[in-house]
């Protein structure tokens, strides 16, 4: 296991900039998640680290040692690809054994067998070992390709959306499984996803990528509680954060086109800004200072999402369990003032 560092990595494909001055460090044994929408450059980052793509600028360091120009085989990496990449002409067993049989490692067969079997057991694919991979279902294929990574003990695991093709239930159980494997083996892992729930639940630290730029790096709590930009604030958390234009007037915050007014915080705020309120920070209370009308109720079982209209703006709030609110109800509510998020007109977080 190793510490992996990216120093000012840029990658251009002709006139497309896939990565733009990306720097971060993954500590030994850390589970680092790269989160970003499609086309953000997540796969490109992994490919550059693996050596499948040569960066246009910058350095890749493994334990402080430069990896520039080192061929993929010598980097000692395990890569779970976004598309299935199981060798179609081989059985599942041979697929799992393939990295161990490589001329770089030359593991004796008696050593391969227990390792393959252990990986198969962890991923619950023991019964598939003799099968040809073309006959597997999507979920089975994905588990085999994860298996091909975990039979080894590489310097780093690179996983490119390994759970994206699975159904919700399997995804959830594999998420727990992967996290567990990672923690027990203390393996350094770089996990790529566009799913914020995967990122929040699995990561030690998250890096948010957008259009090739790394916007914020931090623990899930950092990212959720102190999003660096409106983009990050909207990317994490379901239901989405309430984000509204607001302005300051005589010590009061007004949400534009809305009846919502709040006392201004102590710090210095520009006259116009964006106000972010997490749905769970909107509390329905009989003695609340604000009022609105229920315009939509979405019961999810564990919680219910309620859309409140105050003026022309709608605020989303969540209450736990099934709620008794009906469409058209007039309710009073409050917001937790210490937990408001302020962003300037460019979307950058304002520290107060």
């Amino acid at each position: 296991m190793s510490q992996i560092a990216l120093h000012h990595i840029s990658k251009h494909f002709k006139d497309i900039t896939a990565l733009d001055d990306v720097s971060f460090t993954i500590q030994n044994g850390e589970f680092f998640v790269l989160l970003g929408p499609t086309g953000a450059g997540k796969t490109t980052t992994l490919r550059v680290i693996a050596g499948l793509e040569r960066q246009s600028e910058g350095d890749i360091l493994f334990d402080g040692q430069s990896m520039n120009g080192v061929p993929p085989a010598e980097r000692d990496i395990a890569f779970v690809f976004q598309q299935y990449s199981l060798y179609p002409t081989m059985s599942v067993y041979d697929n799992l054994a393939f990295p161990l049989r490589s001329p770089m490692r030359r593991t004796p067969e008696i050593e391969i067998k227990p390792r393959v079997e252990k990986a198969a057991e962890l991923l619950r694919i023991q019964h598939l070992l003799e099968r040809k991979t073309a006959r597997l279902s999507g979920g089975e294929m994905q588990r085999v390709s994860i298996g091909r990574a975990i039979v080894r003990n590489p310097r780093i695991f690179l996983m490119d959306e390994p759970l994206s093709n699975l159904d919700a239930k399997l995804r959830e159980s594999l998420r727990v499984e992967l996290k567990h494997i990672q923690k027990t083996q203390t393996s350094t892992t770089l996990f790529v996803t566009h799913d914020q729930i995967e990122a929040l639940t699995m990561a030690d630290r998250i890096g948010v990528l957008r259009e090739g730029k790394l916007i914020q790096v931090g623990t899930p709590t950092d990212i959720y509680d102190r999003p660096a930009t409106t983009f990050v604030a909207q990317l994490v958390g379901t239901p989405r954060i309430n984000l509204h234009k607001a302005f300051r007037e005589n010590g009061t915050l007004h949400v534009q086109e809305s009846t919502v007014q709040l006392p201004a915080p102590s710090g210095s705020l520009p006259a116009e800004f964006m106000l972010g309120i997490r749905p769970e920070d909107v509390l329905i209370a009989p003695d609340g200072a604000l009022s609105g009308e229920v315009v939509l109720v979405e019961p999810l079982g564990v919680e219910t999402v309620i859309h409140l209209r105050a003026g022309a703006q709608t605020f989303i709030c969540v209450v736990s369990g099934i709620s008794h609110y009906r469409l058209g109800d007039q309710v009073r509510f409050d917001v937790i003032r210490e937990r408001l998020h302020y962003f300037d007109s460019n979307g950058q977080r304002l520290a107060l």
């Binding site: 693996a50 050596g51 499948l52 061929p71 993929p72 085989a73 980097r75 000692d76 990496i77 395990a78 890569f79 690809f81 598309q83 299935y84 990449s85 060798y87 179609p88 002409t89 393939f98 990295p99 490589s102 001329p103 770089m104 490692r105 091909r148």
Partner: protein
Amino acid sequence: MTATTPRPTFEQSGPRLPVVESIRVDRVHPRARIAGSVRATLAIILSLISLIPVFWIVLTAFKTPTDVTAIPPKLIFEPSLTGFVSLLSDMRLLSQAEQEERSQQPDLSWVDQIALQIGRAINGPSQYARQLGNSVIIAGTSTLLSVVLGLLSAYAFSRFNIPAKGDLLFFILSTRMLPPVVVTIPIFLMYRSIGLHDTHFGLIMLYTVFNLSFSVWLLKGFIDEIPREYEEAALVDGYTRLQTFFRIVIPQARTGIAATTVFCLIFAWNEYAFALMLTTQNARTAPPSIPSILGSGGIEWNTIAAGALLFLIPVVIVTFALRQHLLRGVTFGAVRK
């Protein structure tokens, strides 16, 4: 309004549109079934029609010269090996007296007896066996070379950033645009002056060059279809480019390799004009030899048919051995993209 939709009965529950081809649906619409059998019948009829010449060659090869020219043509006759014997041996005509004398000899071998039936005696083996051998050597080696070289360059064209890739590929293809006959004379003169005339190597090189453009293009099509992810996965798993090529690419390109092999083999095996011009004795292949079997007396159709039959067999064997790869190979890959 509660309009109860009638529960579909068992008969109604099959697919509503005719399922024309399916492996999973157990109930095939009757219309689709009829269409399927019509199609199968048509396919069988068409293949029978195209097999008629082959069938006739086989019949003729086993006829005696009198049966061949019989009118109306005989479908049922006593098979004879006369054609094959005269094909593979060099014979002379016997006079009436000699024939009678020979028929008295008790120790005549079965070949001699067959020769005697058509009034001849055997001098020795003919050139044809040797020429067939030449065909095997020349077509086999040039096919092997075309496929191996083609595979390597197709892989390079498919996977690497080669400067002026498009131009190079076009150049390779353009060698096919010239009708080969146009260059026979210049090549004949060149070959004669550099000593390649009537050599195995000369023909092998020529056929390889001709086939290479075809094999590069065909194989590139197949390799393009193999996702790069497989190779990248193997590279990350600790294999070098070359090992990846052998362990990942070749197994997946089997279909393409089989199809290319058969096409190259058929070209090299059937090639006539160059073989006729560039060889005389030593390296002469079978195609230019078959017409020269014509015979000294009348046209010996049974001998020619025997020659053609022997000539067909090797290609049939190879094609048959590769048939399971071929079917997919001919229908996919080459045509797409």
